[in-house]
């Protein structure tokens, strides 16, 4: 039972604090947006006012199977972007148990940050059977982060199953993280994983087999790439940050290409 008037008051108060740059208001608005309840329409209209006149952020999706190193890469990107003076938010999505609705969200383990740094924001989200390993209101949450003023928004999601297309809808650029493992390339292609990616990162290239995996990916993409040219494949070691600078360069190129193609 909630009183609609007090709910509206509460949203208004939160919006006020949000505009004043109160990170707690952002955190609470994300919770309201994420709960999938009936007030999403109110939040969306609120969002329109919050976002008005704000610069848009560069939104980067990070997808790949569990254990590929997505969180480690997110951590490396946060370091890289902070060093470049950019503010970054990370939305780390992990699936909830379909039975209990509970979830273990452990992505923060990999993220190192200075607790006094206002330029970083990390939020863990449990996804409940929604398409694409994203919460139903992912687009709204990303807009909140954008409206709050983060220069860049990273979205980590497990790209499992057939429905990873959702990440396309919220991210400007999608990075697929894979690990060296002979023979899996065909599976990735069959699963349609390669199609949704703008950049493919072969992570854990400190382990044997990275060169072979990268080469066979390139070969496969050359065949299917057609006129558009194939997506870039880059070897990285997220754990040490090696290759992350190059990866970011490709992300920026991909963003420019994409914004030309989709006016």
């Amino acid at each position: 039972m909630k009183d609609p008037a007090s709910q509206a008051d509460r949203l208004r108060a939160l919006a006020e604090r949000f505009r004043a740059g109160d990170r707690r208001a952002l955190a609470q608005l994300i919770s309201l947006t994420d709960d999938g309840a009936d007030h999403s329409a109110e939040i969306r209209s609120l969002l329109d006012t919050l976002a008005a006149g704000k610069r848009s952020a560069l939104k980067v999706g990070i997808t790949g199977s569990a254990g590929a190193g997505k969180s480690t890469l997110a951590a490396a990107l946060i370091r890289h972007r902070r060093a470049a003076g950019r503010s970054v938010a990370l939305l780390a999505c992990d699936p909830a148990s379909p039975i209990t609705g509970g979830a273990l969200l452990g992505d923060r383990i990999r993220i190192e940050y200075d607790p006094a740094d206002q330029g970083v924001f990390v939020r863990s989200i449990a996804t409940r059977g929604a398409a694409g390993g994203l919460p139903p209101n992912a687009d709204a949450i990303v807009r909140l982060l954008e409206a709050f003023g983060y220069d860049e928004v990273l979205i980590e999601t497990v790209g499992a199953g057939q429905d990873q297309l959702a990440i396309r809808g919220v991210a400007d650029v999608v990075v697929l993280v894979v690990t060296p493992s002979a023979g899996d390339e065909v599976q990735w292609q069959k699963a349609g994983l390669l199609e949704i990616a703008d950049v493919i990162a072969v992570n854990k290239s400190d382990l044997p087999g990275a060169d072979a995996t990268a080469a066979s990916l390139r070969e496969m993409l050359d065949i299917s790439g057609g006129d558009a040219g194939r997506q870039p494949v880059v070897k990285i070691t997220a754990a040490t940050g090696q290759g992350v600078d190059e990866l970011w360069g490709m992300v920026e190129i991909a963003r420019r290409t994409r914004s030309r193609n989709t006016p």
């Binding site: 254990g67 273990l104 452990g106 383990i109 990999r110 382990l207």
Partner: protein
């Protein structure tokens, strides 16, 4: 309902017969006959006369507060008849932080003794003759540095390094599997451990430079079979790395030592110790071609299972510890720590430490279990279990090799996942009361508070003060040069021990040396397989 599988989930038959005896090949004696104690493959013990020749070393782990506080506890224990010392360091020292580091706040001298520099180590052993006592030091990531402090303390007592006896835990691999006191990534961690092995082989030949430890793996919830397999495969990893350095197997293998858990499941534990000796002896002789019999003999320290102690009815812990200790002795341990009954509640009081030590003395002098070697040898049950455990370990070795070896399996989280699933199974069995734990899920009584050890709040400020004074008295240029040398050695492939020892002589601190190392080696966050 009663259950007839072990706490490790091994099914037990209603009875065992000659048909269950293993069929060991050749040197282990005729089929079905387990051989004799003191002979290859040492299933029945590493000495023919076992405890008739010499009792195990009664070694109680102790340390708290300042170096002086622990020095006093050491002298108290030696007075009560303890025969070896075992140093517990505080958490900041274990993690390689100085007492004045902000991250050390509240933890200085709390769970162990605070040692920042060689001068602290010297005070820790004040009036204790390092040539006569054997000392065990439980320390891992910063082990080479604490070893350097010890060597310098000995030097200052005028004692030559080749007179020093004792053990450095120095087993970083199990930190990744279980204990979580790692600092550097797996590869450089192993390198540091092997630096000590190499250095001691040349300069401190009586010292045990590593104590390859299953204890913590078991405490994290592993089965007996996992404890056995993961410990021995870690040992093999150190051996491989030492051989890669160009050491000869017989130059260092005799000084490797092991550390196992003595848990509740009485016969399975005994079988675990016996299997460990047999597997190791075969590996050393048949695979590595060791010629020196001392290389074949697996020596181990045992500690009763801390995780089996309960906060409810703490007095009952005395009984658990006694049975566990008997398993360790029937399994042929070389040294033993018996836990105190109050250890789930706080650091042990002097009374409870004394009772724990008395437990060993009763075992040694009153029960008669020491009169003959391996009294259970030839038992259908124990021999069959020994064989099963050996097979289980060999299966794990093959799987780990397939997955690319120990370091790869650390990185992929394999060890942690295996341990976690065993721990979860056990947890469910306790929750569902499939397993009875006295005082916890049956035979419950209202809580009875017992007196516990009170920490002294003045330790931390005192230690910080002393450290600041010491740091101010040093020559900054010399300290900086010593740290540069550590960085340079770390960046190359030289043995780091000489650089640590020279720095220790200048009272460079553990925190300073560790951060110099981290500049080059990097720091490790958390391993995979967390869940």
């Amino acid at each position: 309902m009663a259950t007839f599988d072990t706490i490790s989930g091994r099914e037990i038959k209603p009875f065992y017969t000659a048909g269950d005896l293993p069929n060991p090949n050749g040197s282990d004696g005729a089929p079905g006959v387990p051989g004799v104690p003191g002979a290859f493959p040492f299933t029945r013990g590493i000495h023919a006369d076992m405890y008739r020749g010499r009792l195990w070393t009664m070694r109680q782990f102790a340390g708290f507060g300042s170096a002086e506080d622990t020095n006093q506890r050491f002298r108290f224990l030696l007075d009560k008849g303890q025969t070896g010392l075992s140093v517990a360091f505080d958490m900041p020292t274990l993690m390689g932080l100085d007492s004045d580091d902000p991250r050390a706040r509240g933890e200085v001298g709390r769970l162990g003794v605070a040692i920042d520099c060689a001068a602290d180590m010297q005070r820790l052993f004040d009036s204790i003759d390092l040539a006569r006592v054997s000392t065990s030091m439980t320390i891992n990531a910063p082990a080479p540095i604490l070893m350097a402090f010890y060597l310098v303390a000995a030097e200052r007592q005028g004692i030559a390094w080749d007179k020093l006896g004792g053990t450095l835990q120095n087993d970083t691999l199990k930190e990744f599997h279980a204990q979580n006191e790692f600092v550097f990534p797996p590869e450089p961690s192993v390198r540091l451990a092997v630096d000590v092995i190499e250095f001691c082989a040349r300069h401190a030949p009586r010292w045990h430079p590593v104590s390859i430890s299953g204890y913590h793996i078991r405490e994290a919830g592993s089965t007996a079979g996992q404890e056995l397999a993961f410990t021995l495969i870690d040992g093999i990893e150190y051996v491989e790395r030492a051989l890669q350095r160009g050491l000869k197997i017989d130059d260092f293998a005799p000084r490797l030592s092991f550390f196992f858990n003595a848990h509740n499941e009485f016969f399975e534990e005994i079988a675990k110790f016996r299997a460990a000796r047999r597997i190791w002896a075969r590996r050393m002789r048949d695979h590595y071609g060791a010629k020196n019999e001392a290389s074949w003999r697996l020596r181990f320290h045992a500690q009763t299972a801390g995780c089996s102690l309960q906060a409810q009815q703490p007095g009952v812990n005395l009984i658990r510890v006694a049975y566990q200790a008997m398993a360790a002795v029937l399994g042929g341990c070389q040294s033993l720590h018996t836990n105190s009954m109050d250890e789930t509640l706080s650091l042990p009081t002097e009374e409870s430490v004394t009772l724990a030590l008395r437990t060993q003395q009763v075992l040694a002098h009153e029960t008669g279990v020491t009169s003959t070697a391996d009294p259970l040898g030839g038992s259908y049950y124990v021999e069959a279990l020994t064989d099963e455990l050996e097979k289980e370990a060999e299966t794990y070795f093959a799987r780990i090799a397939e997955m690319g070896g120990v370091v790869r399996c650390v990185e992929s989280g394999y060890f942690r996942r295996e341990i976690a699933s065993a721990a979860a199974r056990y947890q469910r069995e306790v929750e569902s009361r499939k397993r009875v734990i006295v005082g916890v899920n049956d035979f419950i009584e209202p809580p009875q508070p017992i007196p516990t050890h009170k920490a002294d709040p003045s330790v931390e400020p005192g230690q910080i003060e002393r450290l600041r004074t010491l740091k101010a008295q040093r020559d900054p240029a010399k300290v900086a040069a010593a740290l540069d040398r550590i960085r340079a050695s770390a960046a190359g492939s030289q043995n780091l021990m000489p650089a640590f020892i020279d720095a220790a002589r200048l009272e460079v601190t553990v925190g300073e040396m560790m951060s110099a190392l981290a500049d080059v080696l990097g720091r490790y966050k958390q391993t995979a397989g967390w869940w």
